[in-house]
C-alpha cells in the first residue's frame, strides 16, 4: 500500500501567462513525480498539485524563484487518508 506521508497539496494562483508557462514547464519535470489535480491553463483558474514530500523543497523553491503565489490546500495527505481508513473500518464493524 503506497503511503503519502508528508505529501502536500498546493493551490497555486498564477498571475500571468508567463507564470502559466512556468507551471507547464514544472509539469514536464517527471523526476518530481507531481500529481496535477488541476492543470495549468490560464491565470483565471487555480492550479492544484499534490507534491510528494521529497519534492516539496524543490517545488517551493521553483515557485518562490518565479514569484508564483500559492497556499497549502492539504497539509498532510496521509493524515486525511488515515481518517478515511478509520471511517471505513468503523463502518464495516457497524454493518457486521
Amino acid at each position: 500500500m503506497e503511503t503519502f506521508s508528508g505529501d502536500q497539496v498546493l493551490r497555486i494562483r498564477a498571475s500571468s501567462d508567463d507564470q502559466i508557462d512556468k507551471l507547464q514547464l514544472l509539469e514536464t519535470l517527471e523526476h518530481l513525480q507531481l500529481d496535477f489535480w488541476l492543470h495549468p491553463s490560464n491565470p483565471a483558474l487555480p492550479v492544484d498539485i499534490r507534491v510528494p514530500f521529497g519534492s516539496l523543497q524543490a517545488v517551493r523553491a521553483f515557485l518562490g524563484y518565479h514569484d508564483i503565489k500559492y497556499s497549502i490546500l492539504i497539509e498532510d495527505v496521509q493524515g486525511i487518508l488515515n481518517e478515511e481508513k478509520q471511517e471505513m473500518i468503523s463502518n464495516q464493524r457497524r454493518e457486521r
Binding site: 503506497e2 503519502f4 497539496v9 496535477f36 483558474l45 495527505v77 486525511i80 463502518n91
Partner: protein
C-alpha cells in the same frame, strides 16, 4: 435487502456490485443489471438499466468514477440508483421520466482502477492496462476518447497521470461504452460524474470554441446548477470544459457531443474548497442529494425537448 445498505460510506467494488444485484432484485421489472463488457483485468462492467417500456425507447446515459480515486462519484451513482428505483411511482418527475425514457447508469466506470485505489494506491486515477516495454501502467480514460485525441491537455508520456494511451478507444473500458452507445442508437443525453471543485461543464475541452448548441447547453447547465445549489448552498461554476477547468483532449462528453448526443454534460462534484476528491464519508449523502437535483433538472429538460 438494499434497505440495509449504508449509502453514507465508501465501499469495495464487491460490495457495490452486490448492492446493484440487490437493487435489481428488489425492483424487478423496473431495474435490471446488464454487462456491457469487461475491464482490462477482466472485471465486469455493469450497467443498471431503468426501464418501464419496450425496445427502441430514447435513453439517458449516466456514468460515474472514470477516474478511480474519485470515490464520491461511485457512491453518488449508487445513491442515485436507489433514488430512481425507490421513487418511481411516487415522485411525479421520476415517474414521468421513466414513462418516457430509459436510463442507463454505469456505477463504476473504471473497476480496475477503483480496486487498485482501495488496495494499493488511493491516488490512482487511470486504468490498469499494461504496455510492452513500459514500466508505467494505465491510461487516463478521460483522455482516450475519439475527440481531438492527442491534442492539448493530454500527455504522450506513459507515466503521466493524464497519459492518453496509444490510440483512441485503446482502453477496453472506454471502447465498451462507445460500442454500447453506438449499438443502442437512441441515447439523447450523456452525463458523466467526476469530482473536483464544483463544476458543471459542457463541450468543448479539446478546443476552446463554443459548441453549436452553446446557448441551450449554457441555459440548461445554469438551471441545473441552480437546482443543485438550492439544497445546501453549494456553488457550481457552469461553462465549457476549456473555460472552466483547462483544455483537455480526448474527453468523453466531447466525443458524445460530436457523435450527436446534444445533451452532454460533465459534473465535477463538491469539495468545499478543500480536500479535492478526498471527501469525508459524512459528505457522501449531502453530495448525492444535491447532485440529484442537478441531474434531475437536466433529465427533465431532455425529456421535454426531444430531438
Amino acid at each position: 435487502s438494499n434497505s440495509n445498505f449504508n449509502y453514507g460510506a465508501y465501499h469495495s467494488l464487491e460490495s457495490i456490485y452486490t448492492a446493484m444485484d440487490d437493487l435489481a432484485a428488489e425492483y424487478h421489472g423496473l431495474v435490471s443489471k446488464l454487462q456491457i463488457g469487461e475491464s482490462y483485468e477482466k472485471r465486469p462492467l455493469y450497467v443498471l438499466k431503468f426501464s418501464t417500456g419496450g425496445p427502441d425507447r430514447p435513453a439517458i446515459w449516466l456514468d460515474a468514477g472514470i477516474h478511480a480515486r474519485e470515490w464520491v462519484t461511485q457512491a453518488t451513482a449508487l445513491w442515485t440508483a436507489q433514488k430512481i428505483a425507490s421513487e418511481y411511482g411516487t415522485d411525479p418527475s421520476i415517474t414521468s421520466l421513466l414513462d418516457t425514457m430509459d436510463i442507463f447508469l454505469l456505477v463504476v466506470t473504471n473497476p480496475d482502477g477503483y480496486v487498485y485505489s482501495h488496495t494499493k494506491n488511493r491516488m490512482w486515477r487511470k486504468t490498469r492496462s499494461k504496455a510492452a516495454g513500459s514500466f508505467c501502467v494505465g491510461v487516463d480514460p478521460n483522455r482516450n476518447w475519439d475527440a481531438g485525441f492527442g491534442g492539448p491537455g493530454s500527455s504522450d508520456q506513459r507515466c503521466s497521470d493524464s497519459y492518453r494511451g496509444p490510440h483512441a478507444n485503446s482502453e477496453v473500458e472506454v471502447k465498451s461504452i462507445v460500442d454500447f452507445i453506438k449499438n443502442h442508437g437512441n441515447i439523447k443525453a450523456f452525463l458523466t460524474i467526476h469530482s473536483y471543485s464544483q463544476l458543471l461543464m459542457y463541450p468543448y475541452g479539446y478546443k476552446c470554441t463554443e459548441p453549436a448548441d452553446y446557448r441551450e447547453l449554457d441555459t440548461v447547465g445554469k438551471a441545473a446548477a441552480n437546482a443543485l445549489t438550492s439544497l445546501h448552498g453549494t456553488s457550481f461554476k457552469v461553462g465549457t470544459i476549456c473555460s472552466t477547468i483547462y483544455q483537455a483532449s480526448g474527453g468523453s462528453i466531447d466525443w458524445s457531443y460530436d457523435f450527436g448526443i446534444k445533451y452532454s454534460f460533465a459534473f465535477e462534484l463538491r469539495d468545499t474548497g478543500r480536500y479535492g476528491f478526498l471527501l469525508p464519508a459524512d459528505q457522501i449523502i449531502p453530495t448525492a442529494e444535491e447532485t440529484w437535483l442537478g441531474l434531475k433538472s437536466i433529465m427533465e429538460h431532455v425529456r421535454d425537448h426531444p430531438y
